[in-house]
Each structure stands twice: as structure tokens, then as C-alpha cells.
């Protein structure tokens, strides 16, 4: 039995689906961020396995993943900072309760 590209894509796909589900359903902003990480991660996996299977002589996929991780780290840090700030003001982290800026 070979470990084909396809076999790696399946878990990644499911991970992505979970991310989507979580992103849409969760109300807690932190939980939304977690879902976001899931999606990012699944994309990273895709990059890597495509790179490895289809273009083994190059490193584009790996570098992309590397950058994605860097960006994800920065983004998460910032987002969490914002969330905590919002929490300080509104005492809430639920996305449907923070409506002060609406309309």
C-alpha cells in the first residue's frame, strides 16, 4: 500500500471543514480564532504535501507554509490583543453581543 497524495489531502480537507464549521458556529471570538488556525493549518498541510509529491525538487510549498505560519502567529497575536482590549471595554467576547459599532 502506498501513501498517496490523496491520503494526505483527506485529513486536511476534514480539518478545513471543521475549521469552517467552527468559524461559522462559534460565538466566542477566541474559539473563532481557533477555528481559523485549523483552516490555516490544513492549508499548510496541503502546501507541504503538494510540494513533496508533485515538485520534490523545489521548496516553494515549504516556504509558503513557513511564511503562513509566521503570518498566522502575528495575526493571532494581534487578534488576541484586540479581543482582550474589546473585552476590557465591553466585558464580553461573544461576537453577537458586541454591536456597538454596528450601523
Amino acid at each position: 500500500m502506498d501513501l498517496t497524495l490523496f491520503m494526505y489531502l483527506i485529513p486536511s480537507l476534514i480539518m478545513f471543514g471543521c475549521g469552517v464549521y467552527g468559524f461559522i458556529t462559534r460565538k466566542n471570538m477566541i474559539a473563532i480564532m481557533i477555528s481559523l488556525e485549523l483552516m490555516l493549518n490544513s492549508v499548510d498541510i496541503n502546501f507541504v504535501v503538494f510540494n513533496r509529491y508533485l515538485f520534490p525538487g523545489q521548496m516553494d510549498g515549504m516556504f509558503f507554509s513557513l511564511f503562513a505560519i509566521a503570518i498566522a502567529a502575528a495575526e493571532t497575536a494581534l487578534a488576541l490583543a484586540i479581543i482582550i482590549n474589546v473585552f476590557r471595554i465591553a466585558k464580553k467576547v461573544d461576537i453577537n453581543q458586541i454591536t456597538k459599532l454596528k450601523f
Binding site: L9, P11, G17, C18, T25, L38, N41, M59, L80, F87
Partner: protein, 171 residues
């Protein structure tokens, strides 16, 4: 033919990813959710190692599992009373999420099944990826050089730092 160890490892990793992903988004305790995420990230790191991208795997563990997740935990600790579960989801929300997720998975899965004739073999050791090479690629301007994105990322990180400072500054 793959080595059996590799195959077993693959199944363990795949099942771990699937199970913990689902748990991450279904658990109602946010701290648990973060913990499951950690497992998913570890599993991903294992895939990277399996692919022979040791550096990437290391980064994954160090940055993601080590850095980001700690941030999450801190944030959770700061904003949540410990042990409190989130309220149950409104059903229409769940249906929405399920629809979107399943539709996405179904479509992509169908796509994969229909087109995935690019089986190919896992080729390990095709390119020797060591730290030196990575460093040179990152800072080179040759054909496979990544200086420009690298610089862009650094600018982005700078912007993030500034943003973080601005956000955290007391008014």
C-alpha cells in the same frame, strides 16, 4: 511499497487529525478546544516530519504549539471564567455551519475523488533540506530566492508589533 511503520504512523496521524479537529470545534469548553487544537498541531508537525521537512516541523511545534497556543490559553484565561461552558448553539447556526462545512467537504471531496489520478510516490530525500540551504534560500535573490517575501513578512511583523503596541497602550 511504503514501510509499514510509515503507514501505521500515517493512520495514527490521520485519525488524530480528524478526531481532534472535530473535537476542537464541537467541545463547549473553550480551554479544551485549545487543547485539542494543540493535538492537531502536533499531528500536523508529524506529517511535516514524515515529509522530511524537519525544519518546518520544528517551526510548527515551536511557533504554533509553543507560541500561539500559549497566547490562546492566556487569552482564554483572561476572558473566561474557568470551567464555564459555552451556551448551546442555536440550532440554525449549527445547521448553517454544518451546511457550509459539509458542502465544502463534499464538493472538494468529490473533486478529489474525480481528479485524484495523480497518485505518485512519496519521494523522500530527493532534495537535501538542511538549515543552511533554507537560510540561503530565504536571503537569496536567485531563481528560488525568497528575499522579497521575507522582507515583506518582516515589514508585516513590524506592523504587527506597532499595532500591538498601539492596542495595548493605555489611554
Amino acid at each position: 511499497m511504503e514501510s509499514v511503520g510509515n503507514i501505521i504512523l500515517y493512520f495514527i496521524v490521520a485519525i488524530a487529525i480528524i478526531v481532534f479537529s472535530v473535537l476542537t470545534v464541537t467541545t463547549r469548553k473553550i480551554l479544551r478546544s485549545a487543547t485539542y487544537l494543540l493535538f492537531v498541531l502536533f499531528a500536523t508537525a508529524i506529517i511535516y516530519f514524515q515529509m522530511d521537512y524537519q525544519f518546518l516541523g520544528a517551526v510548527q511545534i515551536a511557533v504554533y504549539a509553543g507560541g500561539i497556543l500559549v497566547l490562546f490559553v492566556f487569552a482564554i484565561m483572561l476572558t473566561q471564567q474557568p470551567g464555564k461552558s459555552a451556551e448551546a448553539l442555536a440550532s440554525h447556526r449549527r445547521w448553517l455551519g454544518l451546511t457550509a462545512a459539509l458542502a465544502g467537504v463534499a464538493l472538494c471531496g468529490y473533486g478529489l475523488f474525480s481528479y485524484a489520478n495523480f497518485g505518485g510516490r512519496l519521494i523522500t530525500g530527493g532534495v537535501d533540506i538542511n538549515m543552511e540551504k533554507i537560510g540561503q534560500f530565504l536571503l537569496s535573490t536567485d531563481k528560488f530566492g525568497y528575499l522579497l517575501p521575507f522582507e515583506a513578512i518582516s515589514v508585516l511583523l513590524l506592523a504587527c508589533i506597532i499595532g500591538g503596541v498601539v492596542i495595548a497602550r493605555r489611554r
